[in-house]
Subunit: 210 residues, 2 copies
């Protein structure tokens, strides 16, 4: 049974349980998936902001990216839980002999890398959706302004939540070259996302005032 096949009621129960998973990484992926879904909704409304063909074309052009991002974020809900379960399993490996200790350390490092890569992917997907959100905010139906605003808030929260999960896992990884590369990408994605969200919010405000 995957998490995305659970009912909304049951996934809330799963998040509430003291079991180690599902946790914040899966929750972040879910929030961003809802945000990407709301942007898809607005981009596919029959009415656009001005009703021009060019505007309809701009919205149609971001639909494939939004659809793909939403599907990958939905997959990430389960992938993050699987990755963290892998970390827990690696820490439980035997450590009686030197050989076991060495195998366990290597397994923990491999598992932590996966548990870093998954939320890093959630950050990338959220940043990509926020970028598309700028187009939706500029050209989407004005009556959906609050839906676009909610989408942006959820995608920012999903990206911020995923970042907390990257940071906590990468902190135990010993490969300095990998950790430096991750830290650099995290900063870049956070900056890009903040710029996209600010641009989208400005388009929404202008739209409301116009």
């Amino acid at each position: 049974m995957t998490l995305v096949d659970l009912s909304v009621r049951d996934i809330l129960t799963a998040f509430s349980s003291p079991d180690p998973t599902p946790g914040g990484g899966s929750a972040s992926a879910l929030a961003s998936a809802v945000g990407a879904s709301l942007l898809t909704m607005v981009a596919s409304l029959p009415k656009t902001r001005s009703g021009s063909d060019a505007e309809r074309g701009s919205l149609a052009a971001v639909m494939p990216a939004l659809t793909e991002v939403r599907a990958q974020l939905a997959d990430a809900i389960d992938a993050d839980t699987a990755a963290y379960d892998g970390v827990v399993a690696a820490y439980k490996l035997a450590k009686s002999t030197d050989e076991e200790k060495s195998a366990r350390s290597a397994a923990i490092q491999r598992a932590l890398r996966t548990a870093t890569d998954v939320p890093l992917t959630i950050m990338r997907l959220s940043a990509r959706a926020l970028d598309a959100g700028g187009v939706v905010a500029a050209h989407g139906n004005r009556s959906a302004t609050s839906d676009i605003g909610v989408a942006i808030a959820l995608l920012r929260a999903g990206l911020e939540g995923a970042r907390l999960n990257v940071d906590i896992n990468v902190g135990s990884i010993k490969d300095a070259e990998y950790t430096a590369r991750v830290a650099e990408e995290v900063e870049r994605l956070a900056a890009e996302a903040a710029a996209s969200a600010a641009a989208a919010s400005q388009s929404l405000t202008l739209g409301t005032r116009a």
Copy 2:
């Protein structure tokens, strides 16, 4: 079929569809419900930050509020969609005669008030969860720091998204006394939530550094 009985996969599809509902209000309730669930998870972990009985008592004391808030936020996912469907239905009422016009206007005003009250309730519930989040951040297991951080980010986004839905609906309500009361409560809840989130984030940072 209620939204909370849909699978996660299917509610994402529903949010993506060009149908008017479910929209941003239900999405905000879902985000806050996930946030409240993660706080419940951390508050019910066997390990607390220091392991003291007093600390276990503090966490146990916020559990009933978190459980209630989570259940009410889950209900709000469907309530917001029902409220907005009511607005759409009221706008579709006949308006040929003066009598019909007057009945339609009254129905629209009633529906808009419900569509304002539901996201206002989502704001109240999110603020209450963020207040409990301060206790969880101060006393919860340090290994769950990222889960608490994600919970705070989702509750803030849920509250912000709910506020956008209050604002857009209250803007068409003609009862000035009601709209003033709502505007005042919205400001108060936003300020309370920002203070709670800041206090919780500070506890988390201190915890990480200690």
